[in-house]
């Protein structure tokens, strides 16, 4: 009776997964030691799946509970962000940068603005530099809160509580940002040579209050899961990224630092006023899910330290170099430049090529999530489904950045 209905033709990714199964069978790997055939099932996780955090699609080959193969499929959120730059002036493009990687949008803005400033030879004022560091680090905390919260939610209803606590406290940061920039997510705040607005009255005190509370809140989150045997059992020793993987796949950010690679662009290739600030690059040794979670918690604490220092050192002066009209018309000399900037998820590189006109000739991002995603087939294969979900949560992908 099933013949009445035509099953739709599987798409390329599913076909590839099926072909790989056939190839493995042809090589004689399709059966276990007793000569019994594996019963492999190709399952489509996403683009609408509760734990892929966005529109990531994973075509997973399962052998019972075991993941044998993973094929990531991306492009469901592609909005031509890079091509759009070629038809907009440098200034007009700033709000669009926000929308690439929307969880830590201000850090992406920063990367773009840094690249244009380098290309055009503009120097931001000192006060603006400090404001940039403050806002950037605040968004780093907010972004890590989202990352850790959604990751624990993948593990259990306990994590659902964690998500609510973390989003509650992310709201506090977003409130600060709203007061400063007028927006909660798409800030459009940085300008070439400075920032758009100076800090409003009383903002510094509010920020200081929040930074005083933040370490206690982070302790609270850690106390929820760190002492929990089930959580430890599910996270320790699973999904290990080796240092060779880090080098081979270009893993950056907290994921690399959890494997002991002290690669933090704020230290290794400093920009802005980071050389003057005192903070440590947190690295851990095991490179498993637990370490990746722990690195993020540690980085939040470091970010709190950085913000507090910046609030203390905040100089007086203008927040925009040159005249206020200056950023609107920019024609950088012909040439190209690449600027890497430490996003919460890793090295966010912006490559701009200029032909001397008002529009960029070419713009290209190096998104950390895109590089981290390439590790998925290697990292997930051989784990159980539940582990695979936990691992993909701990890698912390944002599809807006991957698809652009």
């Amino acid at each position: 009776m099933f013949d009445e209905f035509e099953t739709p033709e599987p798409d390329e990714a599913v076909k590839l997964a099926l072909r790989r199964i056939d190839e493995a069978t042809a090589r004689g790997e399709g059966s276990d030691a007793d000569g019994l055939a594996f019963n492999e099932v190709v399952v489509n996780m996403g683009p609408q799946h509760p734990s892929t955090h966005g529109v990531l699609r994973l075509v997973v080959t399962l052998d019972g509970e075991l993941v044998k193969d993973v094929i990531p499929v991306i492009g469901y959120l592609h909005r031509c962000k890079e091509k759009l730059a070629e038809r907009r002036t440098y200034f007009q493009y700033i709000p669009i940068v926000d929308r690439t990687e929307y969880v830590a949008s201000i850090n992406c803005e920063w990367g773009y603005v840094l690249a244009v400033e380098k290309l055009a030879g503009i120097r931001p004022t000192r006060r603006a530099e400090f404001i940039r560091v403050i806002t950037g680090e605040l968004m780093r905390i907010a972004s890590h809160l989202v990352a850790v919260g959604t990751f624990t939610a993948d593990l259990s209803p306990l994590g659902t509580a964690m998500v609510f606590y973390m989003f509650r406290d992310r709201e506090l940061i977003l409130d600060l940002m709203e007061e400063l920039t007028g927006a909660r997510m798409m800030f459009n705040y940085y300008r070439f040579g400075g920032v758009r607005y100076d800090l409003p009255d009383g903002w510094v005190e509010k920020c200081r209050d929040l930074m005083k509370r933040m370490p206690k809140l982070i302790d609270e989150y850690e106390s929820l899961v760190d002492d929990n045997a089930i959580f430890l059992q599910r996270t320790q020793g699973k999904g290990v990224i080796t240092q060779q993987d880090v080098v081979d796949y270009g893993i950056t950010g907290p994921n690399a630092r959890a494997s002991g690679v002290a690669h933090d662009l704020r230290r290794t290739r400093p920009y802005s006023v980071y050389p003057e600030l005192d903070f440590e690059v947190c690295t851990l040794d095991h490179g498993d899910i637990f370490d990746r979670y722990k690195v993020r918690m540690h980085e939040m604490r470091e970010s709190v330290k950085i913000v507090e220092q910046c609030l203390d050192m905040l100089p007086k002066g203008p927040v925009q170099s040159g005249s206020l009209r200056a950023p609107y018309v920019i024609t950088p000399p012909p040439g190209s430049c690449y600027v890497g900037q430490e996003n919460p998820r890793g090295e966010y590189g912006t490559y701009i090529e200029s032909d001397g006109s008002r529009y960029p000739y070419r713009l290209k991002y190096r998104d950390p999530c895109f590089c981290n995603l390439q590790l998925f087939p290697k990292l997930l294969s051989g784990n159980k489904i539940a582990d695979a979900v936990a691992i993909s949560g701990s890698i912390d992908l944002v599809l807006g950045g991957i698809d652009r």
Binding site: T160, V240, G260, I385
Partner: protein, 372 residues
Amino acid sequence: MDILLGILRAIVFVVIAYMVVFVAALVNIVFERRALAFMQDRHGPNRTGPHGVLQSVADAFKMMGKEDFRPLLADPFLFTLAPIMVMIGAVAVQIVIPYTDGITATGLDVGLIFLVAITSFTTLSILLGGWSSRNKYSLVGALRAAAQMISYEIPMILGLIVVAMVVGSLSVVDVVEAQSGYQWIAFYAPFTFLIFYIASIAELNRGPFDLPESESELVSGYGTEYSGMRFGMFFLNEYAGMTIMSMVAVTLFFGGWQGPFAEAVQFWGVSWIGLVWFLVKTYLLVFALVWIRLSLPRLQVDQLMGFAWKVLIPLGLVNILATAAVMLWVPSWKWGLAVFSWIAFFAFVGLLDPILKYRLRKQRERQPVVSA
């Protein structure tokens, strides 16, 4: 005449059993949502009726109004049969449970065996539903459910055996009567209760054992293809199960309907305050279920099976042997059993976590360091 009365009695009790299932499910859904909201620092449903108490009634009507949809490739007969069958366990269990003195459908002589047998019905219909819906998530969820529920039925039975040994009867009414005068079995066999309770949480597919429908992995497990009232039946059964399982636990371990002044108000041959005590005790255990669900992360399949086969089943067997030895050789065996069982209870509660953590620490030390 007797036959007619018997039929009437049967009808009345079936109606009561269904009422209990539906009302319990609706109450539990709102209760859990509000309790979780309270623990997660948010409001929860609070718009439908005072404090949102009518939310699940509204949801039930919404589900009934939905399209009765069936995937084209699903097996039509089994796909429809599964949600109809899923209630049987929750309803039929109540046949042997005394709500209070005077409201018992039947004092079945083999009540305890009946309890175990009839609760397995849920497993069967979950397996049917998952298998017949022709969906990979459903199938994996259903197989997980079947494996888990069968594994955890064994420690549950091992717990029930101790109850039967202590009481000396398989009849549930006898079990309640044996606990009169506050000699609740949970007081002198707390360890047995612990084993039974952990196993019953797993039987209910609730956190931390909610793998069959872990939404982060399997969308919603065996129920993925179900919608409308068919889904509603699974959903209602799951939440009614909380109350039914707590009722069973209260009856077997906490003296059922007995309590202070339980027999003070009696008319129509029924102790009404006993009914209140029964409900109060039941809902204390339901609250514990909600609390546990929120506090513990979900286990993994291998950990889940390992916990059943490596921890609970051996401990259950040892518990039976020790109880038998105490009953055989200790003169006032209730005291002896109490001493043994409380020691075992605290040893289990106190040592499980440190032992697990010690092993994890050792494992962590052996774990290769990638940053070398």
